[in-house]
């Protein structure tokens, strides 16, 4: 079965497709969240060093992963918009910024609440935490830049350039615990090595990560639908939409 992907690169055809996909990703996220919470708060045993405080891991690590991953996806769509001048790519990039900022905030907030009982401090200016804070400022900068430019196509290009320049921060965050001597611990999960944690804890973390992933997809698809209507307002296909005609 061949799918014509080009067909879905236009906002008019992507809008109904996104509408059909949102419930699937939304429900998958909800179910995985419930399963992840049961594992993380119920089944997983108490940590012998950190007691119950370690349970923050089940939201901290997934949100931190997503904060970096969403940024890369946002920069990718920005690059596509710059290279091919496609409207939908720019709209996708625009849609991802607030959710990326939200994931970054959650990672910082939960990390802070985890740091206090385990390290004795809510915050330290170490490389991992500082670069993650810079990530939050990058997201907020992209959002502010868009709001500051009236012409949407110019805003698309400016945001894409800022996103791409800021992408250098992602490897810095990821490798910060290796490159510098940080208060933040090294990663427990590395490609090509056995994870340094109990299987049930790892399972809970992975389930929550997929939940965060599907949530991010669902919410950014929903937001991109709003953005499509905002930016294509007045066009014949928007006027022909059932939800626009039914006043």
């Amino acid at each position: 079965m061949a799918i014509n992907w080009y067909k879905y690169s236009s906002p008019a055809t992507f809008y109904p497709l996104a509408g059909k996909l949102i419930p699937w990703f939304g429900w998958a996220a909800a179910i995985l969240t419930v399963v992840g919470l049961v594992i993380g708060l119920g089944i997983a045993p108490t940590d012998f060093q950190q007691g119950e405080a370690y349970r923050i891991i089940f939201i901290h690590v997934p949100s931190a992963w997503m904060s970096m991953f969403i940024y890369l996806v946002m920069a990718f769509w920005g690059a596509m918009a710059l290279g091919f001048n496609t409207r939908l790519s720019a709209m996708m990039a625009q849609s991802l910024a607030p959710t990326g900022a939200l994931m970054t905030f959650i990672a910082l907030w939960t990390g802070s609440l985890w740091g206090r009982p385990t390290w004795g401090t809510y915050w330290a200016w170490d490389a991992r935490m500082t670069s993650e804070l810079i990530l939050l400022f990058l997201y907020l900068g992209v959002i502010a830049l868009r709001n500051a430019i009236d012409d949407p196509r110019r805003a698309d290009r400016a945001c894409a350039v800022l996103s791409l320049v800021g992408a250098i921060n992602i490897p810095i965050i990821y490798y910060s615990v290796k490159w510098w001597n940080t208060l933040h611990q090294g990663s427990s999960i590395n490609i090509g090595a056995a994870p340094k944690m109990a299987t049930i804890m790892l399972t809970g973390m992975l389930v929550m990560s997929f939940a965060a992933w599907f949530y991010a997809i669902a919410v950014s698809l929903h937001r991109v639908r709003a953005i499509i209507v905002e930016r294509e307002r007045g066009s014949a296909w928007v006027n022909a939409l059932r939800e626009v005609r039914a006043a």
Binding site: I59, I106, W109, V229, E230, A240, A247
Partner: protein, 60 residues
């Protein structure tokens, strides 16, 4: 149950983390829904007075 809520003395940290995460996610979901509704409302106001005939996607 109260033992579960106490989180071995770490209730403030654990529930502070989970609670705020749940709160910001609920806020984002409502904000996105409101934005989508507002966008459709704006499109309705900007649209033509008379209902236009339905355009079949891809057809011309």
């Amino acid at each position: 149950m109260s033992e579960f809520l106490a989180m071995g003395g770490y209730a403030f940290y654990v529930w502070g983390a989970y609670g705020v995460t749940a709160l910001v996610i609920v806020i984002e979901v409502f904000a996105v829904r409101a934005r989508a509704r507002a966008a459709l409302e704006e499109a309705r106001l900007a649209g033509p007075e008379e209902p236009v005939p339905t355009i079949t996607p891809g057809g011309a």
